[in-house]
Symmetry: C2
Subunit: 349 residues, 2 copies
DNA sequence: TAGACCCTGGACAACGTTGTCAGATCCAGG
DNA sequence: CCTGGATCTGACAACGTTGTCCAGGGTCTA
């Protein structure tokens, strides 16, 4: 009655999802465990004949090294984490891709997560990535207090903040020159004869929004133009409210002849509003938008180079890991004014 | 001379990057290793007083559980991999985000990589992800032979192909109805009076391109219109060649009055070309593009719902992991014709 | 007061890999 | 034939966690 005793065949003997290990390969090839390890890692000191046998066993069993175990042993995971706001946002796609390319060049994989602008979710994600022992972390902050990362930094997790500086800790960061870009954009409108210029942007508690607002004010002040409150709309991003804000600026007691839009989402909505107007209103937007050159008129923008930002951040990350970099630094990348027509319209009073 | 013997202080005694472990926490709290594990995992059977002591030690040391070790022990990594073509492409951003959201709902993280349309790189990435022991894999194939994944599938890695079916293996896949969408788009042009309709698309060895071409041919045949070779341009995606192809169609012996563009990149270039024409040429594009409604005329497109595709794929993945799903299936999601003007232009002979 | 039981806490092995080290094998030279 | 050295191979511990199992001590009941 041996058949009663045989529980099952070899395959189902393994629990669901079990995979061959080096031990299995070793057994099949009739060699020691370490020899398999040597073959898998291309270490020297294995006879061609032995190597062949091992390789055969590997192929036959469909063995694939378990990197979790490897990581545990070696300490480095060869992966980095990227916490951003929303992968679906066209600004972050190229940024993420640039980070990935640099990571790839260093043999690392990229794990990314979207914080959806929620500080708690940012923290949850960043810490989850740390628990996976990513070697480094690129963070586009949603919150403004990053002290929760202190133990991680101390433990040697390389960290670079992007787009906005870290809050309450000292860390590397890579930013666009939001202040300078906005100032240039507004100055451009002023140079084309505008004096009543509207600003629609995000809440000033967001660093980028605050800097862009500061740039707007600076340009106006440089030109000696006093800014009226009704020209500024802050903390407004959802299309409905941007629309209302824009309409109010255009029809108020002191109607604007040009609008500076604080980010790409705002720009898009403003374009829609302006398309409905009979009178020509000038527009400069912060952040480039796709097909901006095909619109009538083309949309003049202050463009950030998302890919360059991502690349710069990732490169700093790996230099931190090298040990080449020690002192946290703040890097500001220049923006570029792209004139396409909408920013060069003269004021139509 | 005790100072000669003292190697260093506590901190640097650890190698670079060393972190406190549960053992350290246990020692500091004066409890056993397993008790720390219990506290960290919220397992029952720990006195509030003990728990407090452990928690204190955790905070003091800045302990964070090492998930690599945990994975090694538990077998599941709570992470899934996504291999796509290019994160910077606006089609993949929302798709990736949708996959991430589903993963998040299941407590999993997302690792993603761009294959850059290179089959070798796709394989390299997919296998690297398997080595990390992701629980599942969502793949947008670049290659057309996926037998390299057989051992992984056998080992229980959940797998869903997206956008294009798997090659030479039997696996779940989630696609758009490329054939039907293209047929509808072309039929729409025919319904508006066009008979000489051009098609510009990718190489037919790419599944989506082949299906869309098939849809084009079907619509033409349904209408009893024989297709001339000069109306079709296949394997053309880079802007320069698309431009040339479009111009040739428009000026050839049998000039087209409408163009069907096989994907978003082609559409964008065709828009540019048409903008330079004096005569009005109708256009329907496959894939929606941003701001398509703001152009003059608005661009009529056959839209795929990238988010829905990602969501569907990810949900199937987790149902595979549940064990709810066993038989590989091919799911086709409907497309939607969005009329905005460019597709409704009458033929201008 | 003893026995049975429950609750808390800890010792130990195991997960799959790599680093260390020592043993085995082989060949050349004395 | 033996020795020395070089080359190849394998046993074993360790990485940090979790699952299993058992011990100790307290409480409740007979």
């Amino acid at each position: 009655m041996p058949e009663t005793i045989r529980r099952s065949d070899r395959l189902s003997e393994n629990r669901y999802g079990n995979r061959p290990t080096m031990k299995d390969v070793a057994a099949r090839a009739g060699v020691g465990l370490k020899t398999v390890s040597r073959v898998v890692n291309g270490e020297p000191g294995v006879t061609p004949e032995t190597e062949r046998r091992v390789q055969e066993a590997i192929d036959a069993l469909g063995f694939r090294r378990n990197d979790s175990a490897r990581v545990l042993r070696k300490g480095r995971t060869a992966s980095i984490g990227l916490v951003l706001e929303d992968l679906a946002d066209p600004f972050y796609g190229p940024l993420s891709r640039a980070v990935e390319e640099v990571a790839r060049a260093h043999g690392a994989l990229l794990i990314n997560g979207s914080s959806a602008e929620d500080p708690d979710r940012e923290q949850e994600l960043a810490l989850a990535l740390c628990a996976r022992r990513v070697d480094g972390l690129v963070i586009i902050p949603a919150g403004d207090d990053h002290r929760y990362l202190e133990p991680e930094l101390k433990a040697g997790v390389a960290t670079v903040f992007v787009d906005r500086p870290a809050g309450k800790i000292d860390a590397d960061c890579v930013l666009s020159d939001n202040y300078g870009g906005a100032r240039d954009g507004v100055a451009h409108l002023i140079a084309h004869g505008h004096r009543r210029i509207g600003f629609i942007g995000d809440m000033p508690r967001i660093h980028t929004a605050a800097e862009r607002l500061r740039g707007y004010r600076a340009a106006m002040e440089d030109a000696g133009i006093p800014v009226e409150d009704s020209w500024m709309s802050l903390g407004v991003t959802d299309p409905e409210r941007v629309r209302r804000a824009a309409e109010e600026m255009l029809t108020g007691p002191s109607p604007v002849t040009a609008i500076f839009a604080g980010n790409n989402r705002v720009t898009v909505t403003v374009i829609r509003v302006l398309a409905e107007q009979t009178r020509h209103v000038a527009l400069v937007g912060f952040d480039d938008i796709e097909l901006a050159d095909l619109l009538q008129p083309g949309v003049t923008v202050v463009a950030q180079d998302a890919a360059a930002i991502g690349r710069t951040a990732a490169e700093r990350l790996f230099r931190q890991l090298d040990g080449t970099l020690v002192t946290p630094e703040r890097i500001e990348l220049p923006t570029r004014l792209i004139t396409r027509g909408s920013g060069e319209l003269p004021p139509a009073d």
